[in-house]
């Protein structure tokens, strides 16, 4: 295998690759990247056996072949080379070390047998559709904060992606919950998704995908089966296993009769929550919302530090229902308001029942929050 590529191209690709490569050395070869030149085209592959990422990289190649080398080391070396460097890879084959040359810098990396590198095959992926990167980003950003990190209920450790009906229209829905909050976002169902099964996309996959989408403005191809999902973002293919479990019937926990409506500017609200919550370093301390007609009082107290209160009056809030007191974890409120553009709409039932939160200007997202006792 022999090839030449410029540093910037390699660094970008290795950046994508190395976060998938397993850093904890349970199986040493999983820390490696597979570098392959086939039919004159260079590709990088990394896998942790749950996710595989393959990226085609622009390079001028002069000999086919393949080798595996430690992803983190390779990334570090490339990163430290001068910005304009052109890097040459040379691997004679077999167990011979992989030679890297850039200007007068030379390194030879120990390789592990290419045959030992696990291949993760996607199998047949019968459901295939396209989503604009922007839409996919929106689905992820507005749900992933609610993904559970607790491993007992492993079926909550991802985003539940499935088709559903909303006001008689077929939609693609992303849902995540950790039991304390729930986020449900929907987009019109793309062509090709009408028969897709409901799938749970693992958190790590979601995060890797989100990184790949950062600078992407085009369209992403999504292909899936009951057990695997594949995202093609430009020259990158991310293939992942799905979580084998049943997502809860979340519709049953979304309240429908919450009729006490509060509207408040997102910035006013988020800033007030942040100021009031600063009184307590304890994350689980609630921020109390006390409501009267067109008046919202936010307060928090800590036995050690003292207390804080802020009022938002009729210039900032709109509330017509009866008095109400309810408490929420500040971080949970912020996670939601972070996703809201201008005005937040809260629909309360009472101080101990789940509360619905929406973006007043965008009905595609719905959030549910469990109150805390105050």
């Amino acid at each position: 295998m022999k090839l030449k590529a410029d540093r910037a191209t390699l660094l970008r690709a290795l950046g994508h690759i190395q976060s998938v490569a397993e850093k904890r050395n349970t199986i040493p070869i999983l820390a490696n990247v597979l570098i392959a030149v086939k039919d004159g085209r260079l590709s990088f592959t990394a896998t942790d056996m749950e996710i595989a990422i393959v990226e085609e990289v622009a390079a001028s190649t002069s000999r086919n072949g393949a080798a595996t080398a430690p992803a983190a080391t390779l990334y570090e070396i490339v990163r430290k080379l001068p910005e304009t460097a052109e890097i040459e890879f040379d691997h004679p084959g077999g167990d011979a070390p992989l030679g890297l040359r850039a200007g007068r810098f030379n390194t030879s990396l120990v390789v592990q047998p290419v045959e030992d590198f696990p291949s993760m095959t996607a199998g047949s992926l019968p459901h295939r559709f396209h989503l604009p990167a922007l839409v996919l980003r929106g689905l992820i950003d507005r749900t992933r904060f609610a993904i559970s990190t607790e491993e007992t209920r492993y079926y909550l450790n991802g985003i539940y992606l499935h088709r559903a009906e909303s006001d008689g229209h077929p939609v693609l829905r992303a849902v995540a919950t950790d039991g304390h909050r729930l986020a449900r976002v929907e987009e019109p169902l793309p062509e090709g998704a009408s028969a897709m099964p409901g799938v749970i996309v693992p958190r790590k996959t979601v995060n890797e995908l989100r990184r790949l989408l950062e600078d992407e403005s085009g369209s992403v191809e999504v292909a899936l089966s009951d057990t695997k999902i594949q995202f093609t973002v430009g020259p990158i293919t991310l293939t992942s296993k799905l979580i084998d479990g049943t997502f809860p019937e979340y519709e049953r926990v979304i309240p429908s009769g919450n009729d006490k409506v509060l509207r408040v500017g997102k910035k006013d609200f988020a800033d007030a929550v942040a100021r009031v919550a600063a009184i307590s370093s304890e994350r689980s301390r609630p921020v109390k919302l006390s409501l009267q007609k067109d008046l919202l009082t936010l307060s928090a107290a800590s036995a050690e530090q003292g207390s804080a209160v802020e009022e938002l009056d009729r210039d900032h809030v709109e509330y017509a229902a009866g008095p109400l007191e309810i408490g929420f974890q500040a971080r949970y409120l912020n996670d939601i308001t972070d996703q809201i553009t201008e005005n937040v709409e809260f629909c309360f039932s009472d101080g101990s029942a789940p509360t619905v939160v929406r973006d007043a200007g965008d009905q595609s997202a719905l959030y549910v929050l469990m109150p805390m006792r105050v």
Binding site: T152, G179, H180, M370
Partner: protein, 410 residues
């Protein structure tokens, strides 16, 4: 004969009518077991002096059973874990109080503080019980352990209004047995006479001998501790199985367990030893359900919830396996305890023959935190409501009034 006065120790006795405690080894023994007498009832009586002369039963709460009965109520035959309706039949004029665990914990903490003034080697065994090792403290206190403990008992009574019973011996097992010999307000010493003193007692007095083990021993014609004494290890192993020699050692008053201050209070758990070893996964699972119910009940009785479960299995060859799993949130629902235990069991039930299965709480949380509504669990409110209904029936008609359908499949 070495003696001390329980009114005066550790000071030299100067009283007219000494309360003598004497024993040949009185000043040589250093392991103590301290157990508060009718603890919950005593705390209640202390804060409500008007109850002093009346029978008091603490219990009820989530389930209709007696948690603690004061000694006056015990005279009528009321005992712990007795259904409330039965207790009230025996003692109709009893004052029944709902448990106030916050108050009991506060007094227990105070009692523990007084223990720690005697020795750092205090191992809490339950809310009102602890093992203490006072070896090497004589130089610090200027008095032998027995004298220091007598002073401690008076101090607890004077400052907390709770009486304790103390057992003093050379090891934890004998100290615990001693503490039970002279209740309430007792102080008993068990020295080298322990073996002969234990001999006529039933084998169930020994720690680790439950109903199942007692039945197995009875089948061999062994009912009294004395019948175990003197068996040679080889013979014990042949007749009683792998743990025979250990059982004989206990019967002879030997116990190698140290007082370990790092050990937390005994966790809440339930276990059962099978009449015959079991290896079939379905049969093992069938044993797990009643344990889940028992565990749930014990948790609610102590106003606690399990934040995880621990599954305990003992193989036919006496190898112990324990496996733990965390729960999504604290629970007292038997269904959830069972589900978590069954998942652990599924991995262990690989054809190995087991003789014992146990299910316990791994990590405890206050009952108030249990089974909170969760957006991830739409079925939880239904489970909670159902359990409430079941508990209501049991409170009125007894534990056996309602059983899960699965109990009838086997």
């Amino acid at each position: 004969m070495p003696w001390l006065c329980r009114h005066c120790a550790p000071e030299p006795c100067g009283c007219a009518r000494p309360h003598r405690l004497e024993h040949p080894e009185l000043f040589a023994l250093s392991v103590a077991h301290v157990d508060a007498d009718a603890f919950f009832a005593a705390v209640e009586k202390r804060r409500r002096p008007e109850l002093a002369g009346r029978p008091v039963i603490v219990g009820g709460g989530t389930r209709g059973v007696v948690s603690t009965a004061c000694y006056i109520a015990r005279l009528s035959g009321v005992g712990s874990a007795m259904p409330m309706f039965k207790a009230l039949k025996l003692c109709p004029d009893a004052v029944v109080l709902r448990p106030d665990f916050a108050a009991y914990s506060a007094v227990a903490a105070e009692m523990r503080r007084l223990m720690l003034a005697l020795t750092p080697a205090v191992q809490p065994l339950s809310i009102d019980e602890a093992a203490l090792d006072l070896a090497g403290t004589e130089a610090v206190h200027g008095a032998p352990p027995a004298a220091v403990l007598a002073g401690f008992a008076r101090q607890v009574e004077a400052s907390l209004g709770v009486t304790v019973s103390i057992g003093l011996a050379r090891n934890r097992m004998l100290a615990k047995i001693a503490a039970s010999l002279d209740k309430p307000r007792g102080f008993a010493v068990l020295g080298s006479e322990a073996a002969s003193l234990l001999a006529p007692h039933p084998v169930t007095l020994l720690p680790g001998v439950g109903p199942a083990q007692a039945r197995r021993l009875a089948a061999l014609g062994i009912t009294r501790i004395g019948q175990l004494q003197g068996l040679r290890p080889a013979e014990a192993r042949r007749r009683l199985g792998e743990d025979g020699p250990a059982l004989v050692a206990r019967a002879e008053g030997e116990d190698a367990r140290r007082v370990d201050p790092r050990r937390e209070a005994k966790s809440v758990s339930a276990e059962t030893t099978f009449a015959q070893d079991l290896s079939d996964p379905t049969a093992l699972e069938a044993q797990l359900w009643p344990l889940a119910e028992k565990l749930a009940r014990r948790l609610r009785e102590t106003e606690l919830a399990a934040s995880g479960v621990v599954l305990k299995l003992k193989t036919a060859r006496f190898a112990l396996r324990t496996r733990q799993a965390r729960l999504a949130q604290p629970t007292v629902l038997p269904d959830l305890l069972f589900a978590a235990g069954a998942a652990l069991l599924a991995r262990e039930a690989d054809g190995t023959a087991f003789r014992l299965i146990g299910l316990g709480a791994a990590g405890l949380a206050p009952l108030a935190q249990a089974d909170q509504p969760s957006l991830a669990d739409p079925d939880l409110p239904r489970l909670v409501a159902r359990q409430k209904a079941i508990d209501g029936l049991r409170e009125r008609f007894g534990v056996g009034a309602i059983k899960k359908g699965r109990m009838f499949f086997f």
